[in-house]
Point group: C2
Chain length 483, copies 2
């Protein structure tokens, strides 16, 4: 089977990764192991959480990472790199380990979603490709999750391909949106590549091609009698589109025992029109005919339409989903947190004038802490390998109020990072896209506080620390010369 995406993405990097790698190479520092963490500092749209997506593509990328002859020749043409380094690249493969949250995990600020433990050059070269995947797919999965929440159980479909930032953004954006909870995509390539359900019926051009709206509807109904969803706003929704739809139902569909499945509104005041249309359809006995709407929708417009009593069964969401228009940048970063010296990982910290920008140093574990009733009440940073025993009351440190005496009582802790790549090769089974999507839904319905999911001033999830981890970080801060 041919595949859309058999590309070698190895050249997807910033040039500085190569200038640094070439610099490290000649210091014989290429064999030193380092630790890089991927984390982000704020949720999009002032939200209370984000959805982690893109891990599968990151694993595929690192497994496939290699430089072709023409890549090497391109690098040579830049006159920046030594011949020895270019020869070294010829057989280069990523040889490190990657720990990551399972794809689909609800994630929060400042915790290491992905941790790379790898030789210095290996870790440095994958920075951009890793970030581009997590940033794009997490952005869209998070946006989709918000839109699906606003739709309150009504179906949301991805219609965004034409406004996506090129092909990948449409295809991987559809994948991420599906993870985030949309039920289908209009993008055929995403349907084929990932098995996502596809949907779509007609454009305005179908109606305009036939000059007469009713003739256009009839032609469609003859072709697809079991799935007639009519676009009714080409001329005039209430005076032409809906009357023609009802006429079609009475004169064409009902005589052959079929029902009008739905109509779609793509312009105008969707709250007002949907109520009028519902009434007209109901009066005609078409109570089972669904009303689908589209036109620059997002969580805010959907919430507003429903607050006004809009009678809507499904939403087609395009440009504002596929570009995450209201906040189109997901800001995950890739920061060095430890360097192995004489067999020991020495933590590194990036200080800053702004307290939130001080990084969390060292090789560490992340735990999600659950209360007795299964709610995720906090996340906890620990030294890597530290024993976390919650059978009794467990003391922790809230780094924003370290003077307080805090304890987790009757709680359980789940380690979030899993080893997904070992010595450059995938560990474990590739999860199905459906299972990732189900995992998102399960967390949001059973584990994650609704207070973190609301749009206005959501509760900020706690990121606490074990006493030992907190002490290590503080000691390192004190020691840093330029603090």
């Amino acid at each position: 089977m041919t595949q859309f995406d058999k590309r070698n993405a190895s050249m997807m990097m910033d040039l500085y990764e190569m200038t640094m790698a070439n610099g490290y190479f000649h210091k014989n520092e290429k064999i030193e192991n380092v630790v890089f963490d991927v984390f982000y500092r704020k949720n999009p749209d002032q939200g209370g959480y984000s959805i982690f997506a893109g891990l599968e593509q990151i694993i595929e990328y690192v497994e496939n990472l290699h430089f072709a002859d023409d890549d090497i020749e391109y690098f040579r043409s830049l006159n920046l790199f030594s011949d020895e380094f270019l020869e070294y690249l010829r057989d280069f493969h990523f040889s490190g380990d990657i720990y990551a949250f399972p794809e689909g995990t609800v994630m929060y600020q400042n915790e290491p979603i992905i941790t790379i433990v790898a030789p210095l050059i290996d870790a440095q070269l994958i920075e951009t490709a890793v970030l581009a995947q997590i940033n794009h797919q997490s952005l869209i999965a998070t946006k989709a999750s918000r839109i699906v929440r606003a739709a309150g159980g009504r179906a949301v479909s991805d219609f965004g391909a034409r406004r996506a930032h090129n092909l990948d953004a449409a295809v991987y954006g559809a994948r991420a949106a599906y993870i985030g909870g949309v039920v289908s995509t209009a993008t055929v390539l995403a349907g084929k590549q990932f098995g996502i359900p596809v949907s779509g019926t007609m454009a305005h051009s179908w109606v305009m091609y036939y000059k007469d709206e009713y003739e256009a509807f009839c032609n469609y109904a003859h072709k697809y009698p079991d799935q007639v969803v009519l676009l009714v706003d080409t001329y005039d929704v209430l005076r032409s589109g809906i009357p023609n739809a009802i006429k079609l139902s009475k004169e064409v569909l009902e005589p052959i025992g079929k029902r009008l499945k739905g109509i779609r509104l793509d312009s105008g005041d969707l709250a007002y029109l949907s109520k009028k249309v519902r009434q007209m359809l109901d009066d005609a006995g078409l109570t089972d005919c669904k009303i689908i709407v589209s036109n620059s929708l997002d969580e805010y417009t959907i919430k507003s339409i429903l607050d006004q009593g809009g009678r809507i069964d499904g939403f087609g969401v395009g440009e504002r989903l596929i570009t995450a228009k209201s906040d189109p940048v997901f800001g995950a970063v890739y920061k060095i947190s430890a360097v192995r010296e004489n067999g020991v990982f020495e933590p590194r910290i990036k200080v800053s004038e702004t307290v939130e920008k001080i990084t969390n140093p060292g090789l560490k574990d992340v735990y999600r802490i659950y209360s007795e009733n299964g709610q995720a009440i906090a996340d906890l940073l620990a030294l890597r390998g530290e024993q976390i025993d919650m059978t009794d009351s467990y003391r922790y440190v809230d780094p924003e109020k370290p003077w307080k005496n805090r304890h987790f009582v009757n709680c359980t802790a789940k380690s979030l990072q899993q080893l997904v790549v070992k010595d450059g090769k995938r560990v474990g089974e590739k999860p199905s896209l459906e299972s990732v999507r189900d995992y998102v839904k399960q967390q949001l319905t059973t584990e994650i506080w609704v207070e973190e999911q609301r749009f206005e001033n959501p509760h900020k999830h706690y990121l606490d620390m074990t006493p030992d981890y907190y002490e290590m970080k503080m000691n390192l801060l004190y020691k840093t010369r330029n603090n």
Copy 2:
């Protein structure tokens, strides 16, 4: 030479294009020629113009359009399409003609940038792929043009890959940004694929790996003595980064006859810091050392920094360029404008309650009108093939004030659309990326009013009509039943 992008993008479509095509197929409507126009209704960021980009990828896409066996099997699995139609797809190639503005043309609202004249099915199937290319690349080229303008002659580089909406957005975004005027990209893959100059030196991880900032700077200088650009904000710009940079220059570079080429600031108050840093560098005799800044920049922040007297020689622009953050949707649409009946193209119009949303019907020509001094004063819609003779005063219609008696005097008219695809094959030479970039610059410096290029309330470019075109449109509007 292997290439990054040899993908078959034929499945990049919305499902409704297939359901419509399958519907048309059985009506024997597949051989009917139709006309679709690509146009947009508003410039991003309330700007006065946009830059047309993405044409080269559209031509490559339509030339390559075909369905592989597994594509056909995927379609079959959807149980929507007839076997005859699926067999027809097996040998399908795009067989139509495409007219387009040259890539890089400064463009405006509501004029047909691209016109497709093709059999109905051919024209319908390419909708999404065409729109995704023009929308993405024009968005980024336009954003880049605005940022470059704000930078006032200082170099602007694309640093955006990690925040791009996946790989294509980074690579084709870098291409579009280069068309729009940036001087280089950090994205290696874009440099390799399109020959765009690449730039990049070091990340914070380089400095942090070495523990000591000066040691990190020394190691870089030993490796790249001719291109030392130091990232100086890892610890403290004024107390550590710049003193260490000056020390490096004095103790390492000057003894071997080299100069410190530049420093980069990636955080903090860039206006304030750049002035302080300039003074410190100048006091140390490093007047030739460039100051490069980065950190969430766009045309607004750049203008603000320069208005405050920031002493900056170059800008690295990332997330806000590569996502066009302040307005990340370019809204080009694909609308049917004529159907050939009995050998004659009958115009089609989409009416709307909003006057701006009424389409411009029919197969038409677009002219750019130049005054004696070479300024582009208006664009003009004409019937396709209509003779435009400007040797004398030429009467035209301003559709917003059709009662006025308007004339072009001492003007010249240039036809903007060119035939770029004939019977599915490229016509003419592929222009170089450099020539497209030069064309943008030439228009903005010599043809396009500065009043259209300002950020606040720019002048709105006129889209006028020939008297015959205006009459045709009005007649069609009167005739449309549901008007």
